[in-house]
Each structure stands twice: as C-alpha cells, then as structure tokens.
Symmetry: C2
Subunit: 412 residues, 2 copies
C-alpha cells in the first residue's frame, strides 16, 4: 500500500517513496525481543546516528504527569545533539517515582555504551502500561543484543519494537529531491490509544542524511509537529510519554541552509511525512474504521481552536462518524458546549460540502446524498462561526465497538 | 425499588418516600401521545400549579447553542412565578432558527390558554433530535388532550412524556417533616445521553406545596443544582436544552422562612432528592452499567475542578470502569492532561480506599483485593494533589458497548 494514502495530504513532486528500505546514510537501527511485552514480541529498539557532528530536535508531551524517560531525556540529554535513541515498549515507566528515574537513567547509560557516545547524546523513550516498575535488567540485556544487530536495514525491526496496540506499521522511506541534491528522509512511528490533539501524542523518530543546523532542525520540526501530531485526536487523552525526535547525519553531503530553497523543499517533505503519519495514527485509533477532518473558521482563534477540539473529541460526533450517520445536531451541540454563553450563535455547518445548517438554522437537504457522503473512509466537516481570519483543523478517529473491546474487555 | 439507592446519598430521617403517588397540593399533571415520537409513546407533558401566588426558580444549560424553548423561557417567562410547564419529547427544537422560536412561542401560548394563566407564567421545554423543525400543530393538539387529563395523580404519565432514551423512570414522591409541619416534595426527571458536568444536563421538574419565597426557591435550587446535576457526566457533552424548574404552591400551609430551621430541613430534602436523581441519570447513562465517583483534593480549586472533570470524562477511565479494571495509570494520565506543565506532580490515587499511587509513584497492592473492589456497581476514586483546602466531586457513568450501540448503530 502506498504510504501517501489520504486525500488530505498532497505529496509534492520532489518527494518520492524510495525503492529500498535503507535508513539515511549514517544511521543504523535494530529491534529485539527482551521479554518486556507479555506477547514475547519485539520490545527494545536502538537507533544510532554514526555522524559525530549529527544534530537533532525533539518535542515532548505537555502532560503534568511525565514518564521517567521523558524527564530524563528533557533534563539530562542534549536535545540538539542526540546521537542515539533507546526505546522500550510494553512498559511506559510512568508513575514509577525515583526507581523509575533510576531505570530510565540506566537505559540511557547502557545505550550510550552500546552506541559509543556520551550519555548526554542519548534519548530514552518508553511506551506501554503506566504504574508498573520497569525491569531495567531486561532492557540492558536487550540493548546488548540490539547492538549486535545494528544495521542500515534495521528500520523495520526498530519500528516493530516501538509499537504496542498498533494494528499496522507506521513508517516511511522517502527520497527528497532538493535543489542542491537528493537526501533521504525516514521515520518510524507508533500510535493507537491515549492520543490527543494537544501535542504530543505518540512516539515518532525521524532521520535524514541532509546536513541541517540544530536551529533549522528545531524550527522545521516545531512547525511540522504543529500541523500534524498536534492536530489529531483518537480519544482526547494526553499520554505521559509522547516523544518526537528528528536526527540529521549530514552524510548525504547536501546542506539545507536557513531560508534557502532547500529548506523550503525539505520542510515540505517533512510536513507531508508527519501529516501522513499523523493520519495513519488516527486511522489506527483503537478500533477506528473512519477518519474525520473538522475545519473551523471564524474571527476568534481561541474560540475556533476550542470548537475544533470539542467536535473532534465529542463521543457523540465520533459514534455518528462510526455509524455513517450525518447527525449534525451533535456537531451543533459540541460547538455550543465549547462556547458557553454565546447563544444565539450564527452557526454554519457543512458535511462533505453539503451545507446542513446556516446561521444557526437547519437547511433542507437531500438526505440520500448526505447519507452517501458520510459512508466513505474519510469524512470532512466544516464549521463556520461569526467573523473571519481564524481557522483550525483537526483529524479524528471514530468511536466504535472496537475501542470498547480493546479498552474495557481485554485490558490489564 | 427504593428511590434512595446510592451509598453516596444519605436520606435524612425527616425525609420519607410517600405511601401514595400524588403531586403536592395545588399541582396537576398529564402526559399524552401527540405523534412526535416515532414510537407513538407519550411525548407531550403539561404541569400546572393551581396556586395563583405560586413561586418558582429555574436553571438552564450554559451552551452557546440554545434550543428555542430555552431562549423563549429565559426571555419571555417570569422565572420566579412560573405556573405551568409544557414539555415535548422526540424533538429538541434546537438549531431551528426563527421558525423554531415561533413554534416554542406557540407552545407557550397554547399552554397558557390550557392552564388559564398569562403567557409569561409558562415555561417551555423540549428534548429529542436537534436540527429538525418541530410540528407545533401536533403539540397544540396534544396540549388540548393533556388539559382534559390534568390530575393530581398525573406525575407518572408526565414523567413518561418527558423521557427519551431513558431506560427507567426517574421520579420521586417524598414527604418531608419540617419543624412547622409536613410538606410534600416531588420531581420528574429525564436523562440518558448528552450529559455533562457543566450544568445543566437534562430536564427536571420539582414541585412542592411548601410556601417559599421566590428568593428562597432560587437560592435553594441554585445550591442544590451545583451539588447534583452540576456534578455528573455521562459523556461530557453539554445539551442545548437542559432545564430545571422548581415550583411551589404553598398549599400545605407550611411556610419555609429564610434562615429558619424549616429552610435548613427543606434544603436537605431538596439536596438528597436532586443528588439521587442526578445519580439515577448517571446510572442510566446510555449503555451504563457502573457508576464512578471521583473526589479530588488539593490546594488550587480550578486545578482540582479540572482534574475531576478530566477523570470523569476520560474514555480510558470510563472503559476501565466498565471492564472492572483497576488500571489507575489511566487516572494518572487524565490528571496529567488536566494540569499541563506541572510535572513532576506528587500525585496520590486511591481506589475504593486502597492507595495505589503515592507521591507520583506506584505502590505495591493486593491485586486480588483491588480487582474485587472495582467489581461492584459503584466505584470510588480519590485523587490527592499538592496543597489543601480545595476539593471537587463528580459522578460519572462507564463507557461500554451499549453507548456505541445506542449512538452509532441505531441513531437517526
């Protein structure tokens, strides 16, 4: 299946899926089974940038309850010069107190040893159950095994090692034609549940062999995250562990200079990569079958943002999306809840381009056409509020029996 | 089944369920089938206070998208002197623009005629589908029929006429022994979906034959609503139509004077009545099987409120409650999401009195005992944040396949 598969992401002509699966020059990765996941699946991943002058940028969850690996990485790593990433799945190492911080620090130290870099160049990430102490010995043993397997072809097994309840792989290998030459851009991502629009929502590791300054990497990652992972919601829940890391080796010899055409083109490629990955996360929301996009326009940015999030997180809207039901009264409800005290509101609503509500009042519609419009895998909702100049976009998953099955029937 | 059935509501000794089903002296009610509900069930209710000097108080939803009946009642009725209430179910008359306002005004006029009171003494309420024009002719014909059926024994059919997807009746007939004499207190309520903690969440009509001033009625209703309907969540969704009306006839001859022992006792009775009704709404949340109570304590009231709502509205917490799963990591997640940027947070969590997290760190627990503690119909969660002096309480329903079935599989 093609990586670019949503109608809401337009692949630019200078970005192409690569014919092979190799990481960008300078990078190696591996994934191993260390016995942390009860399933016995791959659960420790190691990613190394071999370029001594490699640069990086990172973003983390805004949660007030931060997992130990996030605290350790934010406080003890040089986020602009990461050379290695160690990840475990099957245990989030969150709400684990001082022992958890010790285990995260141990992971950082062991990965630094394996990668042959100083501790401050290593990022640590974890994902899985909250509130259970992580067995650091298993991770260290896994790291030893992973170190022996590091390979430029290791993106697939690294990707598998960072996933949990994901139903499918979320990664890409892209070739990007810049004015100054070709660079490679790859990413591995995990999603599924506990996904919310207020950044950061998952784990995502991005690699390139372009030569970027750390400032450029940080600028581009910040802009692209705001347009991708910051714009999705599976269940409105904010994880304790979310981490995005961009690393650049420079080994292609192609330099992306600030404010150059190269930077513009590279930014476009990073943008479509992260937006498509974010959409894959939504599409793989726990039990998800359909993806919605809500676009809200009006005159007041905070109001427009609040409405977009209220619609995207409404269980009534999400169940209607799941059922292929164009019941827009639920959208009106979500708008009203987000803007208390503003009644009567001149509210416009359109579904797949069919206007159903104008100035707060229902319009006559062709019900059969409307039913057909919401039957596809992607459904677009537009909300108009008074005024102009502000807009907000959010992608969200539907809410069906699968979410309940995964989260109520079979959890630990 | 006893009306007072939650362990979280303690019936005071001076409050008793009545041996009969009659409305308080002065009140009559009726419910009829007017053809608005596709099911053919009762869908128009009329409630009349026969006391010319009757007083009242009311509260409404805070939504920015107000239904026409709410706008008409708030703007064109004397909320301190309501003598009649007309309600239809099967159509919310929301997002219906000017024609909807006309229909709501027509309902008000027809009910005034039927009750023999001035238009300004009539409250109008509607519940049902949003965005469909209400057929006012049906309501008027229903009102004619209801007027002929008005009876002191009509609370049951009035109650049936205001319900929609409710699985069971939510009403009470109480006798209250005040120092100055006995009064009767009755209420009819509807709930089910689109229920959120930011008041007001449903329809509830309360009657008494105590003699209250309008100021006392407003004060007591305001306080008791804040402790009941303002403290529940089924799905975190705020309806466009929610209305609570308290009406007093004074026909018992017992006066509830301000700051008297009578006022205290009457207030206690109203408090347990509304809290138990609110808990019945939660218990009858669409597809609900279990009820949760979260109590949050700390030093910062807005933070404590935000955490209580985040926990109560978290689909991960609600699915865990449904599945009888003591997975408190999901509570930690909700707390962190509600308090971004505060990490590391010294968070305490207890489930049914079993402390599972202290100072942000998991504690060893007797897993079998904990599993048993969350297997009952009511589960209590306590969250401790730094500081003291502030607390918040919320009751919430679980989230199971029934919610999906009702809202995705079978909606219009």
């Amino acid at each position: 299946m093609a990586f670019f598969r949503s109608r809401w992401v337009q692949r630019p002509g200078h970005v192409a899926e690569a014919g092979d699966d190799r990481l960008p020059a300078g990078f190696r990765a591996a994934g191993v089974a260390a016995g942390i996941k009860p399933s016995g699946g791959l659960d420790v991943g190691l990613l190394v940038n071999g370029a001594p002058d490699g640069v990086s940028a990172a973003r983390f969850t805004a949660s007030g309850v931060l997992a130990a690996p996030v605290l350790v990485t934010k406080e003890r790593a040089r986020l602009d010069a990461l050379r290695a990433v160690v990840v475990n799945s099957g245990n989030a190492n969150a709400a684990t107190g001082r022992p958890g911080l010790d285990e995260a620090a141990r992971m950082q130290g062991a990965a630094a040893m394996a990668a042959g870099v100083a501790t401050e160049h290593v990022a640590v990430a974890s994902t899985g159950v909250i509130g259970v102490q992580l067995d650091g010995q298993k991770v260290v043993k896994g790291l030893l095994a992973a170190n022996g397997r590091l390979s430029p072809d290791g993106a697939g097994e690294f990707s598998a090692a960072i996933q949990t309840t994901d139903a499918f792989e979320k990664r890409a290998t892209l070739d990007v034609e810049l004015p100054s030459g070709r660079v490679r851009l790859t990413a591995q991502c995990k999603g599924a549940g506990m996904i919310s629009p207020r950044f950061a929502t998952m784990l995502c590791f991005v690699q390139t062999d372009a030569a970027l300054s750390a400032e450029t990497a940080d600028l581009l990652l910040g802009v692209c995250v705001k347009r991708s992972f910051d714009r999705v919601s599976v269940d409105g829940q904010l994880s304790t562990n979310d981490t995005v890391v961009l690393m650049a080796s420079g080994r292609s010899g192609v330099t992306v200079a600030p404010e150059s055409e190269d930077e513009l083109r590279f930014g476009e490629a990073l943008d479509v990569l992260l937006r498509q990955l974010a959409l894959l996360i939504v599409a793989d929301g726990e039990g998800s079958e359909r993806v919605g996009r809500v676009v809200v326009r009006g005159g007041h940015q905070p109001g427009v943002d609040a409405v977009a999030r209220a619609v995207a997180n409404s269980p009534l809207v999400k169940t209607a999306l799941h059922g292929g039901d164009p019941n827009w009264g639920r959208i009106a409800q979500a708008v009203g809840a987000a803007l208390p005290g503003t009644a009567p509101l001149a509210l416009d609503i359109a579904i797949e381009g069919v206007q159903v509500c104008s100035g707060g009042m229902a319009l006559p519609v062709d019900q059969a056409a409307l039913d057909a419009a919401v039957a596809g895998p992607e459904v677009e909702y537009e909300v108009g509020l008074p005024g102009e100049g502000a807009d907000a976009e959010l992608f969200f998953s539907d809410f069906g029996h699968g979410y309940i099955t995964i989260n109520a029937d079979y959890t630990t």
